[in-house]
Amino acid sequence: MTQCSDPVALALWHPIAAIEDIPADGKQKTQLLGEVLHYRKMDDTRVSVHHGDRKLPVTLAYGYVWTCLGTPERDLFDLPEYAESDRRNVCAATVGVNVSAPRAVENFLDMGHFPFVHTGILGAEPHTEVREYQVNVDTERDEILATECLFYQPQAAAGSSGGVMSDYIYRVPHPYCAVLYKSCPTDESRLDVIALFLQSVDEENIRAHALVSVIDTQSSDLDIRMFQQNIFSQDKPILENQLPKRLPLDPRAETPIRADKSAIAYRRWLRTKGLQYGVLAAAA
């Protein structure tokens, strides 16, 4: 296993586990950027993470444990909806996928695959058109924003009872994380939040963690979790068959179409950051 020497990846906060999934006692093991880490729940508000003998910085946020193998350059991104008192916050899934984190972020941003991969749930033929949407890079917050995304969905969420045109907003506030805001099936004035937090086990393997934060008084936690786990498991074989497994940042490496606008912005954003881990660098 090659050691990670990418200063950008080393300075990031990375998710490693859902807080609620950590057993009350005993040392747990996981892997991040090719390194074995151990972590332990001290109590409900404290988790310690170690790399060998070295104690790593820890942030507990959005239901997950986050750590950093280098020196964190900034705080973890903001997700203010998480604190809204009437939201259901559910750590919905942790799924292992044999792919790089950036490939998984890109798949999360892509609406074009919904009718074919999530048939009957997030999309259905013949409603396959990805309409024109807007993509901007917010330089102050250093994140990508895709707005005005509109897509027909037969079963947009666990709490849905029929097909709707879903409004989507995507945020990419972290090279390995993406947040999706979509029409809430039970309250027109609010947006449901689905966040994808990727743990780079190594350059070509991830643990995909999902936070679901919704206005939904009907569905059980189990309904919400099973919905999300099924969606992730449908993506898994698609992601695992993408080659190369690392995301090529050279603009000539893969040919985008108009629907890939957000992916084009994401690749450019990663190039600007100089991220190396999980990507294939553009030719100089």
Partner: protein, 231 residues
């Protein structure tokens, strides 16, 4: 009404969902979260199945554990054609049993590798993959020789049996465990045939067959046949 204690991502549960669908039997699903909640190891579930394994079916006072036992029960109870579990033919019955045991060895190899890769089980994934490849090689040869005699299914004969479904689940999910089927062309042709059986359903990780004919089994009048006008 049959109640199926089910985990959507479980291959063993998938075997049962497949046969229920192919036999057109209605049932109700109760979701048991295998991962990460390990709900199948909770006291509540252990009182249903002390072994802590999925799937389980309940109907009336009857509880049946073990995917293969459930397949046997469903085939005997609901298959009017008597072809899915051919009890009147001692040779085929023995062959069905043999390949169901083979399917169990796929559970401890191909399925275990999938548990390591996708569900973070602390097992020797590489050893599981090696064993799965040994089994796939044997299975591929078996299916290839069957095809030479115009036998399209796991057990020689005109119709599929529950051995096909028992073997199908962890073969078709093998890539999630890092086991490619690239080198097993007879296996790939067979999985395509299974996908074309009337009543076939997918699960996350399994895609339907491409455009082409649906294989309606002539002997079974419970199947909705593809071209009937009076349906």
């Amino acid at each position: 009404m049959i109640i199926l204690y089910d985990y959507e991502l479980s291959g063993n549960c998938y075997k049962v969902r497949l046969l229920l669908s192919m036999l057109n039997v209605s049932y109700e699903k109760k979701a048991i979260e295998f991962y990460p909640a390990a709900e199948h190891k909770t006291d509540a579930f252990l009182s249903i199945n002390a072994l802590g394994q999925l799937p389980v079916i309940q109907t009336g006072d009857l509880t049946i554990n073990d995917s293969h036992a459930i397949l046997v029960y469903l085939a005997r109870q609901y298959d009017k054609s008597d072809t899915w579990f051919p009890i009147s033919d001692p040779v085929r019955l023995a062959q069905v049993t043999q390949w169901m045991c083979f399917a169990d060895s796929l559970t401890s190899s191909a399925s275990s590798a999938r548990l390591v890769n996708g569900f973070f089980y602390d097992l020797d994934g590489e050893a599981c993959r090696q064993e799965a490849h040994r089994l796939f090689r044997i299975f591929d040869e078996h299916l290839w020789f069957n095809e030479r005699e115009d036998h399209l299914w796991v057990v020689p004969g005109k119709t599929p049996t529950i051995a096909d479904l028992a073997c199908f689940a962890y073969v078709v999910l093998s890539e999630e465990g890092g086991i490619s089927r690239m080198d097993y062309p007879a296996i790939r042709r067979w999985t395509d045939r299974v996908k074309r059986l009337a009543g076939f359903v997918v699960m996350p990780g399994v895609f339907p067959a491409g455009p082409g004919p649906v294989h309606v089994l002539p002997a079974n009048d419970t199947f909705p046949s593809a071209g009937t006008a009076e349906a």
